[in-house]
Every structure is written in structure tokens, then in C-alpha cells.
């Protein structure tokens, strides 16, 4: 019996610590802890709600743009503002681009090294690697000479004894199953994906000025003005052509590199279809409005919840069903820590009761994380690409069904295999393909509007705070790459009175609640086999399959009612 600690969990965003009890070679219990706290919601109080998106976007630089979108939607909901169709399209393009970008980076740069042994690439035969590459894809970078070049590069690195970021990996671990040729192929694509993400994200630079931290959102629309005849308009025919070209190149990369790689790697790790299952409850707020935010029936990805692995029924979702617990979190509630609170009633008083640093172990019987525990009707839920794809699949989304069934057929696996570590990886890849197809379509729609003279990008009816009611409140959401994100804002006297974010990784990585129900990571780690407690790569595989983002997950507001009027510095 041993307590394993992984801190820092690397190849994620933010500061995550996992403690796991291991008995008889497998995990018998696990605790997930966020170890960093900033207090951004507290900082927001008293400020102009129109600029809340600029602040909240800095919750995360990996999931850049996602909090900006949720924030402007929350304020628009509070003020009753509807954005013009062009703004909706631009937001959809930015959001879908972020899915593709994030998912590709996740697979190659954050997750692949759990499955790929870089050092084994040295033993590969470049000619056989070329054969393997050509057997799974039409991607042209597949010659023997190309793989030889990559292999020499790895060789040089290993021989230099300065392995850089690869110096501390679990190389040689018995859990690595890929043949040398597949390892070499993956290393080549790791490098190509670095180039990909750098190029592809120029879509965000055009529409948002820069990435990370785009700077063109506005409450009421977008600031990237459109004009078919102006060379200096942020969006004009020349820029649209530029966007289209990048989007089409990306689609090819996803279809010819990412998808075949996922299928190939999954084929060697089929036992992970039976591991890391977790809660079996899945939530999606739905995303990509195509006829106004209020018509959820026209969303490209549907809203809904799946409970108890039952794909025959999709339950309706209302944000009123969300609450947060702090029973095992380093906060206290005025009414006691055993009841949950809806975000509009949300209060958080940070109160660290953990061990004094430096420490060896957390006291997991008491409070042990800076993350709260969000619940949907008091039920813990998993969020993310798997949840979205399952909700879409169960809702009868034709394109999703086609893609999911295609992947399951190729892997010779039933739909229930998706409830797993490998299922999360497959769902993320399917979603990437889906959205990579969609980006060019939305860019084309934007072009059609531009060509037909619809140039509106902003609805300025409520821009002037003098037009606002004395008090208002609203909910904004976004299905971020990592899952369901909600912002709740309360506005009084033209300033933010209270602000609450309930964030994807808080759903997934949160601690136990008042009833002792585990969070999604904690549940998914149960029964994970551990070959070597000193090198617990199996834990990383399941935790990484969720694509953790801890900066997003930790947040705070102060006690209800207290105002920080002095923050309006001029």
C-alpha cells in the first residue's frame, strides 16, 4: 500500500497535484488538488462590465478567447443585447479555430508522450516508417529520407546528452507498446504539429489582433470591422481569402495527420478502452448559435446531459441546476460548508487550512484543493469533447453520428468503449475533424454577407451605460475546448457587483462534495493499473485524457454584498 503523489502534473495548463492510493498494483482511491489561486472574480468587482471580458480572458492563456466569449455573452444576457449575424459568425470561427488548435496541441504536445517513447524512435527503420505512414495516410511528408532526417535529429539530441524538455520522461517504461516505427512517425508529427499551431492560429491574429489573448470582443458584437472595398478594414476580401487558405490547409492536416495518428496509436492501446471510465454522467451547454443565442435548436452542437451511461436519453439542461460545493475546498460559506450554492448566490471566502508548505501530503479527509466542486442537480458531471460528442450522438446529430460510427468501425469497438481514457482521445479527434470542416463553411458565410453588403459587426444600442437598468444579471456560456463554461454576472449602478465562473476543469478536476461524491478525475483514476509506483505513467494517461486546465479552474468571489468601489482607478 502506497500513497503516490504527482506534483507538478506537467503537460497541462496550471498547477495540479494528484495523490493516489495504490494497493495490489492498482489505484484504490485518488484525490485531485488545484494548488494555485488568484482571485480574479474578486478583482472584477466595481469595474465596467463592458471590459470584464478583457480581464476574464486572462483566467487562461491556453484556453485564450473562451472566457472572453462567455463574458460578453453574460453581459449581453444581462442587458438584453443581441449581436448581429456577422458577430455571431466571427465568434463561431474564432471558437471553432480554438477547438482545432487546442485539440491538436493537446494530442501531440501534451498527451502523446504518455503513449510515445521518443527514445525508441532511434530503433526504427526509416523505410518501414515510410511504409507505415503511407499505409495510413496520403500525407505527402512520408519518404524514407524524411524520416531518416527526423531520426538523425533525435539521435543528435540523445548523443548530445542535453535532452532538453525530453530529459525527464518515463522512457523505457513497460507500458509503452508502440513499435519503433510508430514512435518515429509520432515524433515527426510532434514537430510538424508545432509548425501547424503556429501557422493555423494566424486566423486568430486576423480576427483578434493577436493570440494569445485576442482583443476584438465587444459587448454587443466584435471590433473587427468589415468592408468589401477598404484595404484597411480588418475584414475585407483579401483577408477572407487569407483565412480560407489557412482553414483549408488545417483541414488537410487534421484529416491526413491527426486522425490517422489517433487511430494508429489507439490500435496499439486497445486495453485503454476499458480504463479510466469515470462518472458516466456527461454535460454540454451546446455551442455555435446559427440564428441568435436564444434559439438553442439551431446550435451546431446540441445542449443536453447524459446520465448513468444511458445514450438512449438526452436530458434538458438549465443553468439554474448548477451549484458549487466547498466542503473539500479551501473556502468557507456563510451558511456552512455542507450545502451547495447557485452561482448567483455564489460567495467564496478563501480560507487555507491545508498543511504548511513545504509539505509531503495533503489532508484529504478535510479540505484539499483550491477548486470548488460544481454539481448538476447535485450530480457530478464530466465535461469536454467526449460529453459534447456523446450528447450530439445521442441527439441524432447526423454528421457526428457518421464520424463516431466511422471511428468505432475502424477500431472495431462498440459505442460503450467511448466511456474510457481512449474514448476521450477519440472523441476529441472526432470533434477536431468536425470543426475543421466547419471553419471554412463559416468563413464562406462571412464572405457572402460581406459581398451582399451586410457589414454590421456591432449592436451599439446598449453601449452607453446610461441606457442600462439600475441592476441586471445575466448568464453567459461557452462550450470551451475543455468543456462547459459558465459566467454569471450581476450589475448594479453600471458596475460589476458580483461575478462567478464555473469552469470546465472545475467540473472535471474538482474534489469530493458534501456527500463524498468524487469529481471526474478522482472517479476515472479508480482501478488504474500501476506497473511502477515510482513512474506512474498510467495516472498521467487518464488525467491527461481530460486535457486539464487548472488556471481556469480556480477562481473566487468575496462575500456577497461587499463592494470594492475604490478599484475604479483613473
Amino acid at each position: 500500500m502506497a500513497r503516490i503523489v504527482i506534483d507538478p502534473v506537467t503537460r497541462i495548463e496550471g498547477h495540479l497535484r494528484i495523490e493516489a492510493q495504490v494497493e495490489g498494483g492498482s489505484v484504490t482511491d485518488a484525490w485531485s488538488s488545484g494548488t494555485m489561486f488568484r482571485g480574479i472574480e474578486l478583482i472584477l468587482r466595481g469595474r465596467d462590465p463592458r471590459e470584464a471580458w478583457i480581464w476574464t480572458q486572462r483566467i487562461c492563456g491556453v484556453c485564450t478567447t473562451v472566457h472572453a466569449l462567455a463574458s460578453v455573452r453574460a453581459v449581453e444576457d444581462a442587458l438584453g443585447v443581441e449581436v448581429p449575424p456577422n458577430a455571431e459568425l466571427i465568434r463561431n470561427i474564432i471558437g471553432a479555430t480554438q477547438y482545432v488548435q487546442d485539440h491538436v496541441i493537446h494530442f501531440y504536445h501534451l498527451h502523446a508522450l504518455d503513449w510515445v517513447d521518443v527514445t525508441l524512435a532511434l530503433k526504427a527503420d526509416p523505410a518501414k516508417t515510410s511504409q507505415l505512414a503511407e499505409s495510413i495516410s496520403a500525407w505527402p511528408k512520408s519518404s524514407r529520407a524524411y524520416f531518416k532526417l527526423i531520426q538523425d535529429r533525435v539521435k543528435g539530441l540523445v548523443e548530445s546528452k542535453q535532452l532538453s524538455l525530453f530529459s525527464s520522461g518515463y522512457w523505457g517504461h513497460p507500458a509503452y507498446h508502440l513499435p519503433p516505427e510508430a514512435n518515429l512517425l509520432a515524433v515527426a508529427h510532434y514537430i510538424e504539429a508545432l509548425e501547424f499551431q503556429r501557422e493555423f492560429i494566424r486566423i486568430h491574429a486576423v480576427l483578434g489582433g493577436k493570440n494569445p489573448h485576442l482583443q476584438t470582443y465587444l459587448v454587443g458584437g466584435m471590433a473587427c470591422a468589415m468592408d468589401p472595398n477598404e484595404p484597411h478594414a480588418p475584414i475585407n476580401p483579401e483577408r477572407i481569402t487569407f483565412l480560407s487558405e489557412i482553414a483549408k490547409t488545417a483541414q488537410t492536416f487534421v484529416e491526413q495527420v491527426y486522425i490517422p495518428d489517433v487511430l494508429a496509436v489507439a490500435g496499439f492501446y486497445r486495453d485503454w478502452f476499458g480504463r479510466g471510465e469515470g462518472l458516466g454522467n456527461f454535460l454540454s451547454y451546446g455551442e455555435y448559435p446559427q440564428g441568435g443565442i436564444h434559439d438553442t435548436s439551431k446550435y451546431f452542437l446540441p445542449r443536453g446531459a447524459i446520465l448513468g451511461r444511458d445514450l438512449s436519453k438526452v436530458h434538458p439542461v438549465d443553468p439554474a441546476q448548477v451549484s458549487e460545493y466547498v466542503t473539500h475546498s479551501w473556502y468557507e460559506y456563510s451558511g456552512g460548508d455542507s450545502a451547495g450554492k447557485h452561482p448567483y448566490e455564489g460567495e467564496t471566502r478563501p480560507k487555507y487550512t491545508g498543511p504548511k508548505p513545504p509539505f509531503e501530503h495533503l489532508n484529504v479527509e478535510e479540505k484539499y484543493s483550491w477548486l470548488k466542486s460544481p454539481r448538476f442537480n447535485d450530480t457530478p458531471m464530466e465535461v469536454g469533447p467526449l460529453s459534447r460528442m456523446l450528447v450530439a450522438y445521442a441527439s441524432g446529430h447526423a454528421e457526428v453520428k457518421e464520424l463516431v460510427n466511422g471511428v468505432l468501425t475502424k477500431l472495431n469497438a462498440p459505442a460503450t468503449a467511448l466511456f474510457s481514457t481512449l474514448g476521450r482521445i477519440a472523441a476529441r479527434a472526432i470533434e477536431t475533424q468536425l470543426m475543421a470542416r466547419q471553419v471554412p463553411k463559416w468563413i464562406d458565410q462571412l464572405y457572402q454577407n460581406l459581398a451582399h453588403g451586410d457589414l454590421r459587426v456591432h449592436n451599439g444600442e446598449k453601449w452607453d451605460p446610461a441606457t442600462w437598468p439600475r441592476s441586471a444579471q445575466g448568464w453567459g456560456f461557452h462550450e470551451a475546448p475543455r468543456g462547459s463554461l459558465g459566467h454569471w454576472v450581476q450589475i448594479e449602478d453600471r458596475a460589476i457587483k458580483n461575478y462567478q465562473c464555473v469552469v470546465p476543469t472545475t467540473w472535471n478536476a474538482g474534489p469530493r462534495d458534501a456527500k463524498g461524491q468524487r469529481g471526474a478525475y478522482e472517479a476515472a483514476l479508480l482501478k488504474t493499473p500501476i506497473a511502477d509506483p515510482e513512474r506512474p505513467i498510467e495516472i498521467l494517461r487518464t488525467v491527461h485524457s481530460f486535457d486539464p486546465c487548472l488556471a481556469c479552474a480556480v477562481h473566487v468571489t468575496s462575500a456577497q454584498g461587499r463592494r470594492f468601489a475604490e478599484v475604479q482607478v483613473r
Binding site: 506537467t10 494569445p212 477598404e230 508548505p357 498521467l540
Partner: protein
């Protein structure tokens, strides 16, 4: 290290990187650093001879935006930095190892490379309540920063948060967050503010260090002059519209579509110093003003509090309106910066002697924009 006797340029050559491409990279770096072109050869020469120094990248109260930003570096790509210029041995967001193995990698560098390695710090450092608001491997951020930065040859603070606490330190600063310079005084340090930092500038600093063996010249905030020495307003592609009195009045109006000046929409360009309009972002594709939104002055001191509300028009910008002479506002502001530099230099020298420290305290720093307003 590279194999014995092998230089970087020969290693690049062996890897199929041509001499010409190497020289192009050196040229781009020299341009970013605002050095005369004759330095191209000097940079190329130095990089050709250098052995790979070790770099570690620490993340504290951060959003990883600066890490993501460096991944988007175009000249050179991050991979070239990783594999060719530096041995990048610790960076939580992308390194292979985790937990014990990651800790061991960092400890190895601190002990075996003592006094020789570079450290990049991202994110603020919380000092309140014994530092419990950020721990890594059970240790506080301040504990780690002291150990790792004090044993480094030089520290590079990237992003607004690592510089002055950034957003995390914005009022009411719930966690007592500060920047690296205040958290660990006395370091050989350079600040690369911005939200996030621009990777072109950070890579240029690394190249400068590898070429000349020292950090580039800095201003009173220890920001490199090549990147933070000029006012955005003076470099802005919309400047002619400002001078001619052509302003965006409403989002999406004719002026907005034609790329007119965003001053009335709250643009902070007249009070911001940064090379954003020139180096731009994401392979020089764009920058916020080009994309249609005002500047936030994200490389200015404590910009979250001093430059917000972000949609409020800057007060008392001299000569605002039609017929202002092109250089007037810039003259006033650069004059203010120079004045602040001198005043600050004297003040900090006096203070440093009094305290026996080399670094000034946060609260006594002069803010150039305050001078501009008065």
C-alpha cells in the same frame, strides 16, 4: 552540450539548416534588437561558436499565456530554440517528465549549472499568508523563485504578472501578489512585460544574451529599450488619421471600417510604450489596433489599474483634435519618460544606498504616464 568541438552553425548544417537560413535568422534578430546591420555577422559568429546554455522556465500565478506565446514564435520557431540554441530543461507546460522526475530535473540544473543557467519566470508570486496561494510540489512559489533565480546567471520575467504582479496584483490584490523583481530583489534581471510578452522580443533577448554574454540595455523598469523605448502612438499605422482629426465615433461606423484612429474609443496608444505596431503578432500578421480595437497599454506599469477603464477616453492628451502637429504629443510624452527616468534614477540611487538593495520598491516607482497627465 553539443558534441565536443562542434559549433551551433555546424550542428545546424548537419541538420540540414543552410548557412543562408541561419544568416536570415540572425538578420531578423538584429532588426528586432534595433542594432546596426553590421551586427548580423557578429550575431552569426557568436551563435556559431556558442555551446548550449541551460534554460528553465518557471510558472507561478500565471495563465500560461506567455508559454503559449513563445510556442508561436516565428523567428526562430520554438523548436529551433529548444534544440539548437538552448537546452530547455524545465517547463511544466510541455516537458516530458512529471512529479518526482520533473522536480529532479529542476534540482539538477540548480546544483550542477549553478551560476550558469537562465531562468524565465511567468506569473505573479503571492506573498500573503505565507505564500499558500501557489505551491508546486508542496513548496511555495516564493521559496522556489528564491532558490532557482538566485542561483541563475540571469532572470527573465515574461508578461505583465511576472513584472509587476499584473492582473493578479490588480486591486484589491487578494493574494498579495508581486512581480519577480519585488519578490526576489537583487537579481540580474530583465522584464519583458505585455499581456502576453511578444515572443519576437523574448527570443531577441535570448539571442542578445547568447551573442554578447549580457542582457540588452534597459530603461528604469528594466525593460529592454529596443522593445519598450517608443510610444505606440508614434509608430501606429492609424496615426495619420489622428493628426487629420479622423476618428472612429462608433463601433462599426464608416471610420471604423476605414481604419481611422481609435482614440475616442478608449485607445491607450498615446500612453503606451511597446514595439507592437512594428513586430506585430503571430508571424507579423496583425496587432490589436490593426484588428479594430484600441490598445490597452499592456506593457505599461500596473496597466490593469492605471489604464482602465479601457473604454474611457484618455484625459488631457495634449493637442487633441484637428491640426495638432504630428510630433507634439510624442514630444510631450517622451519628455515625460526621460524626466521620469532621471527623477527615478536619482531617487532609486538614494534609496538603494539607504536600504543596501539594488532594486527599487514597487510603490516608489515613477509612472511615465502620470507625468504626461500632469
Amino acid at each position: 552540450m553539443l558534441p565536443q568541438g562542434q559549433s551551433l552553425s555546424s550542428a545546424l548544417k548537419a541538420r540540414g539548416v543552410s548557412r543562408r537560413r541561419f544568416m536570415e535568422f540572425c538578420g531578423a534578430m538584429v532588426a528586432t534588437l534595433a542594432l546596426p546591420s553590421r551586427y548580423v555577422a557578429k550575431v552569426a559568429d557568436a551563435l556559431g561558436k556558442t555551446k548550449k546554455p541551460v534554460l528553465v522556465w518557471l510558472q507561478f500565478q500565471d495563465c500560461a499565456g506567455n508559454s503559449e506565446s513563445i510556442l508561436r514564435a516565428s523567428h526562430p520557431t520554438v523548436l529551433e530554440v529548444v534544440l539548437d540554441l538552448l537546452s530547455w530543461e524545465y517547463h511544466e507546460i510541455i516537458m516530458a517528465g512529471a512529479g518526482k522526475q520533473a522536480e529532479a530535473a529542476l534540482q539538477r540544473v540548480v546544483k550542477e549549472e549553478k551560476g550558469k543557467y537562465l531562468v524565465v519566470v511567468e506569473g505573479a508570486i503571492p506573498l500573503a499568508d505565507g505564500g499558500v496561494y501557489c505551491t508546486v510540489a508542496g513548496r511555495t512559489a516564493i521559496d522556489l523563485a528564491r532558490e532557482v533565480c538566485r542561483n541563475a546567471a540571469a532572470s527573465i520575467a515574461v508578461g505583465a504578472c511576472a513584472w509587476d504582479g499584473g492582473l493578479v496584483a490588480a486591486k484589491p490584490n487578494p493574494t498579495g501578489a508581486v512581480g519577480l523583481e519585488e519578490a526576489v530583489p537583487g537579481l540580474t534581471l530583465i522584464n519583458m512585460p505585455g499581456c502576453p510578452q511578444n515572443p519576437a522580443n523574448t527570443v531577441a533577448v535570448l539571442v542578445h544574451y547568447l551573442t554578447f554574454g549580457e542582457l540588452p540595455a534597459t530603461d528604469q523598469y528594466h525593460r529592454p529599450l529596443f522593445a519598450y523605448g517608443r510610444i505606440i502612438h508614434d509608430q501606429c499605422e492609424r496615426r495619420a488619421h489622428y493628426d487629420a482629426g479622423r476618428y472612429v465615433e462608433e463601433w462599426g461606423d464608416e471610420g471604423h471600417r476605414k481604419g481611422w484612429c481609435l482614440y475616442k474609443m478608449g485607445c491607450k496608444g498615446p500612453q503606451a510604450t511597446f514595439n507592437c505596431p512594428n513586430v506585430r503578432w503571430n508571424d507579423q500578421t496583425s496587432w490589436p489596433v490593426k484588428a479594430g480595437h484600441g490598445c490597452l497599454a499592456c506593457a505599461s506599469h500596473r496597466f490593469w489599474d492605471t489604464k482602465s477603464p479601457f473604454y474611457e477616453r484618455l484625459p488631457q492628451v495634449p493637442g487633441f483634435g484637428v491640426d495638432v502637429s504630428a510630433g507634439e504629443i510624442g514630444l510631450v510624452l517622451t519628455g515625460a519618460v526621460a524626466g521620469a527616468t532621471i527623477v527615478h534614477g536619482i531617487a532609486s540611487a538614494v534609496r538603494d544606498r539607504a536600504r543596501g538593495e539594488t532594486k527599487p520598491a514597487e510603490d516608489q516607482k515613477a509612472n511615465p504616464s502620470e507625468f504626461a497627465k500632469s
